[in-house]
């Protein structure tokens, strides 16, 4: 091989040098075939270290570089840049992780040196077969699709729109607002949820840069970062959005009442033609065909009769829109854990056991009871209320995770109860989790206000009285773990703090957009700490609870973060697509199509006329599965081709004893 390789061993202070004999290692590297320069240096990532590399490239005409330092995930970019500045294609540089994979994890110095030698010789052999690669620039469409119009999606849309970029905001429900619109107050500041959300909602409704598509869903997504094509199904509202003035007479006149188990969480009633709540955006009502008398019996049409602008359209059908967007933000939110699954709490069986969402509606001045906290009979005010934490959270049988918001929501409920009623309120908790700004202070405040706290996960809620004072009450049976005794405490009302869980269709949605879910069903971010709103699919971002349980401030922050990431890309105008992709060599392709359905990103298509398969580089994410699968070896994976990987294997095993005469060609071992 005629390449001139430069090897650079980093001491990383004592992090590497403390365990690995770097001088000996550099000496060893210097003797490997193809190596012209081999140096060790205190801090390769320092500017001096980088110049060292650049100098050698220029002066000694190096054609390949190997840096033995930390993990490539830390400094690969750094050294690629160093090479580029010296005019060497960055993809001709290979990093060997001597720190994370050798010095930090090995005790025996001699063995550490052996391992380091093997890793370096692997890198040296590999790098000589590496090829020049160029990232491909693609233009970025300035439009953005935001899916889900809860507070996270709303925030993201406004950030982008205010920056002057067009946004298509798709919402499944008839109105935007999400769960936040259902709440009464927000913790810990106790400002009214509607008061802070509805202005944002109307901004969305009126913003000239935002196209609001409510009562709609994304059917199909194709394309790639900067150039996505999406198909939207706009479900038939039964109301013409051009003619409708939103006067609401149709709703008044509709004779059909149904329980609203979406916005009112099953606590209130709405009409068959309805608007989820008065401040709904958009203002147009929706005909609920499943419950409309006309669709059942073919008569009624009260709404049509009374509509002053003849906006009712019984024959309206679902419409489809095809949009081109450059980036997509998923802010699809969460489902409430179904408390029926834990039958020991009696929800659905014992009338006065409520869920947290039901209780939000009870407290809400615009709710079914005008904000009066009452029992299921709709009149009686409870004298005692129990708040049961961790229902469907921190439980291997249901959801193992902590739902992050329930503790604070319970404190908020405690305050509202004491503000609105004479009732005593008791929280049954395992641990009170109050980690954010002013949260602990809020906990302190509620203790001071006279809310009671019992540490213990409630074992059961029953109406089976054992003693006279339990008759006619709901009895909460629990171990007070701070006393170490079992207690039975009678209450008039029990509120279950149901946990947050992923949307039932999260996996399906994830697949549609080409992103993955964790085991439990939350969308997976690119990096849990350093890249929380990006996903593994370029151009697809996530914000809010769909990524994991979080409260309003965090959801808003993520919405804004996702938006700013996208603004950056739009401002740049183009995105560079990593050249680490697979290509098919037509001359070798037998057209067997084995690779075709291996690709989850649909990057591989079959060219019938040539009867060969073809890979769309822009769609390819470079996983290399097809490369490994091709029986004709007609596919090469750039930067990870067979020759390169085989060379690395040979290098790693330079010192291995062949399986007695297993007889591959001997590998040159340095003198």
């Amino acid at each position: 091989m005629s390449e001139k390789v430069g090897v650079y061993i980093c001491h990383c202070g004592s992090n590497i040098a403390g365990t690995v004999d770097v001088v000996e290692l550099a000496k060893f590297a210097g003797e490997l075939p193809g190596v012209t320069v081999s140096r060790e240096y205190k801090f390769m990532c320092s500017s001096l270290g980088q110049e060292l590399v650049a100098e050698d490239i220029k002066k000694q005409g190096l054609t390949r570089v190997v840096v033995g330092a930390c993990s490539p995930h830390l400094h690969e970019k750094t050294f690629r840049r160093a090479c580029a500045t010296a005019g060497l294609n960055p993809y001709l540089m290979q990093m060997v992780s001597l720190r994370e994979q050798v010095s930090w994890v090995t005790e025996d110095k001699a063995l550490a040196l052996d391992k380091a030698k093997a890793m370096i010789s692997g890198g040296v052999r590999r790098v000589q077969l590496q090829e020049e690669l160029e990232p491909t620039p693609v233009p970025v469409n300035p439009n953005t699709l935001v899916v889900g119009a809860g507070v996270a999606g709303i925030q993201a849309s406004l950030e982008l729109a205010d920056a002057g970029y067009p946004v298509f905001l798709v919402e499944r429900e008839p109105s935007i607002g999400g769960h936040m619109a259902q709440f009464d107050k927000t913790f810990p500041t106790l400002d009214c949820s509607a008061c802070i959300l509805t202005p944002k909602m109307s901004d969305v409704g009126t913003h000239e840069k935002i196209t609001l598509l409510s009562y709609a869903e994304v059917e199909e997504v194709t394309g790639f970062v900067g150039n996505f094509h999406v198909r939207i199904r706009k479900r038939a509202r039964g109301v013409d959005e051009v003619d409708c003035t939103g006067c609401g007479i149709c709703i008044e006149k509709c004779p059909r009442k149904v329980v609203d188990d979406v916005f009112e969480a099953g606590m209130g009633y709405r009409k068959a033609i309805y608007r989820p709540f008065p401040q709904a955006v958009p203002k147009f009502p929706v005909i609920d065909r499943a419950n409309c008398t006309f669709y059942e019996r073919g008569t009624c049409k009260a709404c049509e009769k009374f509509c002053p602008t003849n906006a009712i359209r019984f024959d309206q059908e679902d419409a489809f829109l095809d949009l081109d967007v450059g980036n997509i933000i998923l802010a699809t939110g969460w489902d409430l854990f179904d408390a029926r699954r834990l039958s020991q709490f009696g929800y659905g069986r014992l009338a006065n056991v409520f869920t947290n969402l039901e209780f939000e509606r009870l407290c809400n001045a615009a709710g079914p009871t005008d904000g009066r906290i009452v029992l299921r009979d709709g009149v009686t005010e409870p004298k005692s209320i129990a708040l049961v934490h961790c229902v469907g959270s921190r439980d291997k049988k249901t959801n193992p995770q902590c739902s992050a918001v329930c503790c604070m929501a319970a404190l908020k409920f405690g305050h509202l109860v004491m503000e609105k009623t004479q009732a005593e309120v008791t929280s049954f908790y395992i641990d009170i989790r109050a980690p954010h700004k002013n949260y602990e202070e809020f906990y302190d405040r509620l203790q001071d206000e006279g809310m009671h706290f019992v540490r213990g996960r409630v074992a059961e809620v029953t109406d089976a009285a054992r003693l006279p004072d339990e008759e006619g009450k709901l009895i909460v049976q629990v171990e007070d773990t701070l006393i170490g005794k079992q207690r039975r405490m009678p209450f008039d009302m029990v509120v279950l703090m149901s946990g947050l869980q992923p949307r039932a269709d999260a996996r399906e949605v994830g697949l549609r957009f080409g992103i993955s879910c964790s085991m439990d069903g939350w969308f997976t971010e690119r990096h849990p700490k350093l890249d929380p709103v990006a996903t593994m699919t370029d151009g697809i971002f996530i914000a809010g609870v769909c990524q994991g349980p979080k409260d309003i401030p965090d959801s808003v922050a993520q919405g804004a973060a996702a938006a700013s990431r996208i603004q950056g890309m739009i401002a740049r105008g183009t995105v560079m697509i990593e050249p680490v992709v697979a290509t098919i060599h037509e001359e070798n392709c037998s057209g067997c199509r084995i690779c075709n359905n291996l690709c989850p990103f649909n990057a591989i298509e079959f060219l019938a006329e040539k009867s060969v398969s073809y890979i769309n580089a822009a769609l390819c994410k470079g996983c290399g599965t097809c490369v490994a699968a091709c029986p004709a070896q007609a596919i090469t994976g750039a930067h990870f081709n067979n020759q390169q990987i085989n060379a690395e294997i040979e290098g790693l095993l330079y010192d291995a004893v062949r399986g007695n005469g297993g007889a591959p060609k001997p590998v040159a071992v340095p003198a």
Binding site: D395, K396, K397, I430, R457, A459, E479, G484
Partner: protein
């Protein structure tokens, strides 16, 4: 993959003795078990507290506790535990350790088990009248009067035999149990 505790051999002893006991390491002290237990109010310690004591390596106090002996095997704790700890099995394990080391203050429950099994080992079947008779005479002679009417009723209605049934292959059973005890002793 659990790191065995060098500092707390008792925890390892309990975990090793109860099938599925490893889950005990993940107890979050929520008290669901103590809250669910029907005889909880009469226990020296709630199961949760017992687990905290095991975690603290308090071998003798744990094995002397009446808690396992008040377990009625209703399995409420087991099905409700958010960490899926097989609590009932752990209670059995603690009983076995207590019996093996003779660490119990009130011998009522252990003796009841022993008396019950005595008939089973000698005949292959249990013997209610014998069991209750022997047990009551030993531990609650006056209790017998309280339930006299019941006893009489049971007998007159023929619900209590005067001798246990002996199974045919009793020798085989005895060989099985002898071998089993021999193997258990080696664990």
């Amino acid at each position: 993959m659990h790191r065995k505790s060098a500092s707390n051999p008792f925890l390892e002893e309990v975990v090793a003795t109860a099938p599925g006991g490893d889950a005990l390491r993940t107890c979050l002290q929520c008290g669901t078990c103590g809250g669910s237990c029907p005889s909880g109010p009469d226990m020296d310690h709630t199961p949760r507290m017992l687990f905290a004591m095991i975690n603290g390596g308090m071998r003798e106090p744990v094995l002397r506790s009446n808690t396992p002996w008040y377990c009625v095997s209703c399995y409420y704790c087991t099905v409700r535990c958010p960490k899926e700890i097989p609590i009932t099995e752990i209670m059995y394990a603690l009983k076995r350790l207590a019996v093996r080391d003779g660490l119990y203050d009130d011998s009522t429950a252990p003796d009841f088990s022993k008396t019950f099994i005595h008939w089973v080992e000698d005949y292959g079947r249990s013997f209610e009248l014998g069991l209750m008779g022997v047990h009551m005479i030993r531990h609650n002679p006056f209790g017998a009067f309280k339930i006299m009417d019941m006893g009489v009723g049971m007998v007159t209605k023929g619900r209590m035999g005067f001798a246990p049934t002996r199974i045919k292959a009793l020798d085989g059973l005895k060989r099985i149990l002898a071998k089993a005890k021999e193997l258990e002793a080696q664990t």
